[in-house]
Symmetry: C2
Subunit: 352 residues, 2 copies
């Protein structure tokens, strides 16, 4: 496990009793052709969050006949839901699913924070219920803090890097060419144009800064962002944000809401495939916001016997469904990465 | 606290870290005039579960302009949600709301187990999704067992004593004239007729026994019953069923599903107003099912300065929203009944 920044927080996280929260949401932005690889077609990305969580819980999706796969090149890459499932199972970590606005609802018990999925951010009206999601998130964070001493929050939001870029740009951060993506070829130009179109639709010109962080989400964000920001701000226990550059948008919103927010109880955990991605720079973005340590987990898929998993080395998928954070918590619970990878391979052979 | 049966289980419950679950559900049966007092009119009973939980969380309902009150005689009786709220607040117990099928959804974060409210049991098709609710309940019980060492399960289901009667009769128990109710005059005859009409509509004659417990729920139950049966059977920690005679129907379903079920981790906690009710007999019903201890909590409303609370002494309301179990857990957390009653009165003065 590589650490960018201070690893001091690990002392608070060791030997703790964690809850893994999986936030699901959709934004119609994912239906823009070419913007995301998180689904077999732009339309099918509506199903990806629900199908991912059904896979984590049941070992196969129920809302779709097929497994969600990122299709790049010849081989389909297994969804990161398999990584998350493997980690939660080997380490016996309780999972709770939180719906912040999934287009398709999973066939599992879940906590409902919001109902509506986000709109295409080109409308400039991306998340009309952002404030409500934030408030509900606060309540949930308070409640869960009474039940655990470490919250790990993953997410499944197709096109979520585009909406993250939207929020970061709206709040004045330099994030252009720095945001990650689920495909080896990161469509930076398309993502940037989509964001600018959304800002323009809401009456902002390039370079304008939206003063109100939740307003930025309303314009060009997605429902996951205010929900997770709320959970973090409502929580009184250490929180690991399990995700890639999307989680930096959550941090930017938290800082936008409270410029004096104490980030010392927060860290980001992601995969090495995000952390070392040459088409993005999570550290560069995070450093603009606050001193937040980033842990990068390496499942060492170069050693894998499953061909599709090796696509992660080529930049396919990279992260999702909190895969990085799930590996981190499994390691904290005493598992080693070989055992985790073996479990991932076993699941891949069974599922695909 | 009075105990009927062995109080052995208390040893397992002391000094524990509880979660209070509040299950909300509706059955169209509550729209039958005269069957329940849990709402200002038969139609408004659709709002009662959501309004009750909003009151517990926010101190006032949001889905309704008015406070849910059981209207009997001249004085309105404060909803038992006030008792539950007082107990959870004085003892700082985390609350999670679970929707098993509320007709109106509360404006709070909640765990979704089911969506549809139950049908009028006179149709003989009361809960078409009973099996699904049971399965989802099992999953939730398993997850929550990893987060707590004591689950307290309350419910808010208008006309729930009628549906409980339905399930008990369908499963061959002697429950006629023994089931409780929210009004001083318990409409036993009406409830019984409604149950028989439902059984008949499903092809059963009086005295027939439905062999399959979840089938009994499908015919004449309500969505709360299979959801709670599932949570209990999925749980590996001690469970307190916080409710009156409705909870005996849950126990009957558990026994129907597994005749060898070990009830030693289960107890019922209710109010003294149910336990000493002369129009019903919770002990008589429970004794037919299994050796399940019943704890009866007395808020001593005869000492109360709030007039409406004294209606509880006359048989109005009696129990609901897990009021009895909430008192039990607050006492376990070191609070005494005078402190609890003072808090209830303080809330009543603020709210009503």
């Amino acid at each position: 496990m590589k650490c960018y920044g201070s690893s001091e927080i690990l002392k608070k996280l060791e030997y703790k009793n964690p809850i893994f929260l999986s936030i699901i949401a959709n934004t119609k932005t994912s239906n823009i052709p070419g913007i995301t690889g998180a689904g077999a077609s732009p339309e099918l990305t509506d199903y990806t969050p629900a199908a991912d969580l059904e896979l984590v819980i049941y070992g196969k999706p129920r809302c779709l006949p097929e497994i969600p796969q990122t299709v790049v090149g010849d081989d389909a890459t297994p969804t990161p839901a398999v990584i998350t499932k493997a980690c939660l199972e080997v380490a016996d970590i309780p999972l709770m699913v939180v719906d912040a606005g999934a287009a398709v609802k999973p066939d599992v018990p879940y906590i409902k924070l919001g109902d509506k999925s986000g709109n295409d951010i080109r409308t400039g009206k991306a998340v009309p219920n952002a404030k409500k999601l934030f408030k509900n998130g606060i309540m949930l964070g308070k409640t869960l803090s009474k039940l655990t001493d470490h919250l790990i929050i993953g997410e499944s939001t197709p096109a979520g890097t585009t909406t993250a870029l939207g929020v970061l740009i709206a709040l004045g951060y330099n994030a252009r060419l720095k945001i990650s993506g689920s495909m080896p070829e990161n469509p930076h130009q398309l993502k940037h144009e989509v964001v600018l179109e959304g800002l323009k639709a809401a009456g902002y010109r390039e370079g304008d800064v939206v003063e109100d962080a939740l307003r930025a989400v309303e314009i060009v964000g997605d429902p996951m962002i205010p929900a997770v920001a709320g959970i973090v701000m409502g929580s009184s226990v250490p929180v690991t944000l399990a995700g890639g550059t999307q989680m930096t948008a959550v941090c930017s919103v938290i800082k936008g809401i409270n410029v004096d927010y104490d980030f010392s109880n927060l860290c980001i955990a992601t995969t090495i495939y995000v952390a070392e991605d040459e088409t993005s720079d999570i550290n560069f973005i995070t450093n603009q916001i606050a001193d937040i340590p980033i842990f990068a987990l390496d499942p060492e898929f170069e050693k894998s016997s499953v061909k599709g998993l090796k696509n992660y080395l080529k930049g396919s998928v990279k992260e999702g469904v909190g895969a990085g954070g799930a590996m981190m918590v499994a390691i904290q619970k005493g598992k080693d990465i070989d055992e985790i990878r073996l479990k991932i391979e076993e699941l891949c052979k069974k599922i695909f």
